[in-house]
């Protein structure tokens, strides 16, 4: 907790100094806070919820794809090898490329483009954790699996899903962070709303308080989700570590 206090003091002090040194570029904290009341609660809430919707949906798509991929890899060794190569490929594709491709496919104002960009950006983190955790788990419990001879679906449901959950939750902390950051970038390029859209809109209109206010909002949301939700969830599943 003390670490957060030090960070807050450091950030606030730096901000005050920089806004004093470069008043034309950087607004003061007071000016930035005043922007929130000017923007209005409904506009703020709408943008926050839209960004959360984009990032959570993208994260869920990535999480579902990871779960399905691990299940299919139990049925085919070839698919497992394909998955490893696919993961390397996905890590090599820039977010900008995904953004352009999905905007071309679904249009500038489509939420689907933003969701899919977010999914593709967070997928590698989940896929890497999922593949590695499931392989380790099957190796660890091989004597029991050989003895009990579960079907592939039973192996998946009783061993792999609960057994990989601790590592998947840890990976989700990273993946959700990526999803939130990337959804904002995707919104900035092609969306009719959300924090990313508002941020670029403020920049285009030269409203420096707006740029800082929306950026600050995003940082606070990410920290709150990580500390209040994901950290708690990680603690809860820690007892399942084998």
């Amino acid at each position: 907790m003390r670490g957060w206090l030090y960070l807050f003091i450091f950030a606030l002090a730096s901000w005050l100094v920089l806004s004093h040194l470069y008043p034309a570029l950087i607004p003061t904290p007071a000016e930035t806070l005043a922007f929130y009341s000017k923007a209005g609660l409904s506009s703020l809430l709408h943008s926050i919820l839209l960004t959360l919707y984009h990032s959570a949906s993208g994260f869920l798509v990535a999480f579902t794809l990871t779960g399905l991929s691990i299940l299919l890899s139990l049925y085919s060794h070839e698919f497992r090898e394909f998955l490893n190569s696919l993961n390397v490929f996905l890590q090599s594709v820039s977010v900008l490329v995904w953004t352009i491709v999905f905007i071309m496919l679904f249009g500038v104002t489509s939420s689907l483009a933003t969701i899919l960009v977010t999914a593709m950006a967070s997928l590698p983190a989940l896929l890497s954790a999922g593949i590695s955790a499931s392989e380790k788990l099957v190796t660890r419990y091989r004597p029991l699996i050989v003895l009990l001879k579960p079907s592939r679906l039973e192996l998946y449901g009783h061993f792999i899903v609960p057994g990989t959950l601790p590592e998947m939750v840890s990976a989700s902390r990273v993946a959700l962070g990526i999803a939130l950051r990337i959804s904002v970038v995707a919104e900035a390029f092609g969306s009719a709303g959300g924090i990313g859209y508002q941020l670029v809109y403020s920049y285009d209109l030269g409203i420096k308080e707006g740029v800082f206010a929306w950026a600050l909002l995003l940082i606070v949301i990410m920290i709150v989700i990580d500390q209040l939700f994901l950290r708690g969830l990680e603690e809860w599943v820690r007892s399942w570590y084998w």
Binding site: P143, L147, L148, S239
Partner: protein, 209 residues
């Protein structure tokens, strides 16, 4: 002599170096057979070969419908003890028979997770899981580790009952007193790579006791 439930002939196994160098043993229906030897002589490797976890390099291995208690408990930490014990029944769509749970003193721990109970209770849960399977031969690797004297006696009594009912039991253990009380025959292995050193019959075991 009863039907052979375990038959091992001249079994050899190497990992980076030779571990088992020509081991032979057999367990017949209605028999309790012991296997003893110093640490690192490949007893647990032999158990894993009998369970089908490891492949032998050469030799003959025949095991008829085994259930195995490994040296490690392999309890799933995300399942309660009851679910761990009943895993085999669940996978076969059968009703889980908890008849050994009370005898092993596990009835008050069934709703707890493995990390919430002692090592001895975890060991008993792993034993109950092995007993819950449908088997012809029960292979127990160090079953007495962590058990109190009452539980050891109860396990010995269960092993004797199983043999009387026509099952075969192979017990790998360091605890010679328990093993000598119950076994019809005990194999001693030793050396590097491990070979059969001696076979003790019932009369020799009683003499040793």
């Amino acid at each position: 002599m009863g039907e052979k439930l375990v038959l091992v002939k001249n079994l050899r196994k190497s990992f980076n170096e030779p571990i088992l160098g020509g081991v032979s043993l057999e367990v017949n229906r209605g028999e309790v057979v012991g296997l003893i030897g110093p640490n690192g002589t490949g007893k647990s490797t032999l158990v894993k070969i009998l369970a089908g976890v490891e492949e032998p390099d050469s030799g003959e291995v025949l095991v008829r419908k085994p259930s195995v208690l490994y040296q490690e408990d392999y309890l799933l930490p995300w399942k309660r003890l009851r679910e761990n014990i009943c895993l085999w029944s669940k996978f076969r769509g059968k009703k889980c028979d908890l008849k050994y749970v009370e005898r092993l003193g596990l009835e008050n721990y069934l709703n707890l997770y493995p990390k919430q109970v002692s090592g001895g209770t975890r060991r008993k849960a792993a034993i109950a899981r092995a007993l819950n399977m449908d088997f012809d031969v029960l292979i127990l690797d160090e079953p007495f580790t962590g058990l109190d004297s009452r539980s050891k006696e109860e396990l010995l009594s269960i092993v004797k009952e199983l043999a009387t009912s026509g099952k075969g039991v192979l017990v790998v253990s360091h605890q010679l007193e328990e093993l000598f009380k119950v076994a019809d025959r005990v194999y001693l292995i030793g050396g590097r790579p491990a070979k059969m050193r001696r076979v003790l019959g019932r009369e020799e075991l009683e003499g040793a006791l």
